[in-house]
């Protein structure tokens, strides 16, 4: 029987797979023993116990079989023996797309539960990137990626809209504090802090920018926001496109360098934090000559140094904390938010499991932009809903804009009646505004 030729896209997919492989990826592709220990770590599996195709090892095998058929020796010689199988048609690519984009949020929970150290989330991201490179991706991923390439931010916020928003936020701030200095500085040179945000804040939730500005103002920070290169989110993390990842991260780094900023502070966004702080230097292939930190750490430091005062009695609702997968499982950032939270609220109830073992909000991995998979996403969210409900809290706090949207959807769908908020909002609410002492000036 003649071997069926690959379609052009499939040919490119396999060609790029060969180039993309590194030792870590090959180890993860060759090392799986099909023990199934990862199965119950996945929220998709737990919510769909009768559908074994959600098992992480099975999903990984859809990538692994292509590797085995084309690169691994046993699979090349005895393909049927190890379930090696080539990818040949555009339909095969579409099927793979529905698995890597629609059945996994790249939360990395299975990676942490694999006895062999197989990092499925990294394999899945690689497969996403390969598909994107041949134009196979959900519509939402294409649209958002295009915006980030072309406009410079993932929500297509135009420069004038961004600057106008900061302008009216500044007016409000000035009005609130009755101080002409209470404004959001833009492109200030030699600032101690360059503050980068998620475009969602400009577009849908500008109060978080005001909250941060309020804190910086009261702390007397020498800070600024950049006029461009301000989007610290990075769709390259979700789409698997390292080129986009590098370009977006570098845009932010270049602006900080241009402004001679000392520290790049990132607003609360899990994937933005991971992309800009952890993965960006790997994608761009360069180190970063300044400090990058989460605004959570900045706020915590201000409180510890006495630069801002907070009164936790102002936040009396029982709250729980949701760890963003990117923050906790991929960047080890889970204690600082809790330390801050304990200073800001009177009733903090831990969610179980938590920290690096927490379940995804189910909106991760760019899932919120892939509406074709929404029913599956919301079904899998049952696990998160149960987890939230068990805390008995009225508010869920998270340090991630994406999780805010993901959790809001879960809460609405499962009628949990909870609120979602972020640490910056709680901190701004708990702020003790110092009395301004008016010193009489002697008239000459």
């Amino acid at each position: 029987m003649a071997v069926k030729a690959r379609s052009h896209k499939a040919e490119k997919f396999v060609e790029r797979l060969r180039k993309k492989l590194n030792r870590q990826l090959v180890g993860s592709l060759a090392g799986c023993v099909h023990c199934g220990m990862c199965t119950n770590s996945c929220h998709y599996v737990l919510a769909n116990p009768d559908d074994p195709t959600y098992a992480p090892a099975h999903k990984a095998d859809q990538i692994r079989k292509i590797f085995k058929r084309n690169i691994d020796w046993t699979g090349r010689v005895f393909p049927w023996w190890v379930h090696a199988e080539d990818i040949r048609t555009d339909e095969d690519l579409e099927r793979l797309k529905d698995i890597v984009f629609g059945k996994c949020t790249n939360c990395r929970r299975c990676s942490l539960n694999c006895p062999m150290g197989v990092d499925f989330a990294t394999l899945n991201r690689m497969a996403r990137g390969l598909l994107v490179s041949v134009g196979v991706m959900p519509e939402g991923v294409a649209v958002v990626s295009k915006d980030q390439w072309e406009v410079g931010n993932q929500m297509g916020v135009l420069p004038q809209d961004y600057l106008e928003t900061l302008e009216w936020l500044s007016d409000e701030l000035e009005n609130e504090f009755k101080d002409p200095a209470a404004r959001i500085p833009i492109d200030k040179m030699d600032a101690d802090i360059v503050y980068a945000i998620n475009p969602r804040e400009v577009k849908y939730d500008p109060r978080t920018i005001t909250d941060a500005a309020r804190i910086f103002y009261i702390a007397g920070a020498n800070w600024t926001m950049p006029s461009d290169g301000w989007d610290m989110t990075n769709f390259g993390l979700f789409s698997g496109d390292d080129e986009l990842g590098a370009a977006v991260a570098q845009r932010v780094y270049d602006k900080v360098i241009e402004l001679r900023g000392k520290t790049l502070v990132l607003s609360e966004c899990g994937h933005g934090y991971r992309s800009t702080r952890c993965e960006g230097p790997n994608w761009s292939g360069k180190g970063v000559p300044f400090v990058i930190e989460s605004s959570v750490l900045t706020m915590l430091r201000y409180i510890k140094e006495g630069r801002i005062l907070v009164d936790k009695e102002k936040n009396r609702d029982p709250v729980t904390f949701h760890d963003s997968c990117n923050n906790a499982r991929s960047c080890g950032f889970f204690e600082e938010p809790r330390e801050l939270l304990n200073l800001l609220v009177t009733d903090f109830r831990e969610m179980y499991p938590n920290r690096a073992e927490n379940f995804c909000c189910t909106g991760g991995g760019g899932a919120m932009s892939m509406s074709e998979y929404t029913p599956e996403r919301l079904k899998s969210a049952k696990i998160k809903a149960d987890q939230l409900k068990a805390t008995g809290a009225k508010t869920v706090v998270t340090s991630c804009h994406n999780c805010v949207d993901g959790l809001t959807d879960v809460i609405r769908h499962y009628k949990l009646g909870m609120k979602v908020t972020q640490l910056v909002t709680l901190a701004a609410n708990a702020l003790v505004i110092p009395e301004r002492v008016v010193v009489p000036v002697e008239v000459q």
Binding site: N22, R23, Q24, L25, V26, G27, G31, V33, H34, G36, M37, T39, N40, S41, P52, T53, A55, A57, D61, T74, W81, V82, S111, L112, N113, C114, M116, G117, V118, D119, R277, C278, G280, P281, N282, K286, V288, V291, I292, A328, R329, S330, C331, G332, F333, F334, E335, E336, R349, E350, Y352, P353, R355, A356, E357, F359, I383, D386, Q387, A390
Partner: protein, 232 residues
């Protein structure tokens, strides 16, 4: 001991071992041909984070069932894993002891302990086979190699129960079967999933290095106090 049995227990094993070593060297060479990617990100905001700590933790993961939710929740499965792997390693050791240091297996108690270990591992192998066939998710991911490797090890462990007394004077059949199976096992392993231990140091090294550098490893877990857990 007949000349045939001596050949099976000595020269044949050495040939099989030599073959396995050559294939393993080629396999590792193949793996090392792929470039390892670097970690350029700044150190974690968690001051105690360290790549070295992460690597050690990751390597030791196999001996720390409490470190992963999957092993914590499947304690019996983990015990099976330990018994099975200890039995396989011991069985390989026995294939050296019988021809080169038979005195070590003279005491009856040693033979009985080995037989109990191999018997337990054999039962575990049967249970694993049942699990692979009955659990839809495991069945779906299982390849012919997965089934064959498991059957091969289970039958080999079964054969070793009869080989452990090492009494060729009572009949060489059981020892012949044992050594032929061992030689086949050694030749087959590098092409099968049984060679996973070859990858373990690499996969765990790189995963541990990244997770340690970022402060994820060692996993920090806070025991549940007042809320109800969500069963994972």
């Amino acid at each position: 001991m007949s000349e045939t049995l001596r050949f099976f227990s000595d020269e044949l094993q050495l040939m099989a071992l030599g073959f396995m070593a050559v294939v393993y060297i080629l396999r590792i060479r193949w793996l090392l041909k792929f470039k390892a990617s670097r970690d350029r990100q700044a150190k974690s905001e968690n001051m105690s984070a360290s790549s070295l700590k992460g690597i050690v933790y990751s390597w030791a993961n196999v001996a720390m069932p409490w470190s992963m939710e999957s092993t914590r929740q499947m304690t019996f499965f983990y015990i099976q894993f330990v018994v099975f792997h200890v039995a396989v390693a011991t069985n390989i050791g026995m294939s050296f002891i019988i021809p080169y240091a038979p005195g070590l297996m003279k005491p009856v108690i040693v033979v009985r302990i080995l037989q109990i270990l191999f018997g337990a591992a054999c039962a575990i192998g049967c249970h694993r086979l049942y699990r692979r066939l009955s659990n839809p998710a495991i069945r779906l991911i299982s390849t012919p190699d997965d089934f064959f490797s498991l059957v091969l090890l289970t039958v080999w462990l079964f054969a070793s129960i009869f080989a452990a007394p090492n009494r060729p004077d009572l009949g060489e059949g059981s020892l012949m079967v044992y050594f032929i199976m061992t030689a086949f096992f050694l030749v087959y392993v590098p092409f099968s999933k049984i060679s996973h231990y070859l990858y373990y140091p690499f996969t765990r090294f790189y995963f541990g290095r990244t997770m340690g550098h970022r402060g994820v490893y060692p996993i920090k877990r806070v025991p549940q106090t007042k809320n109800t857990a969500v069963k994972g």
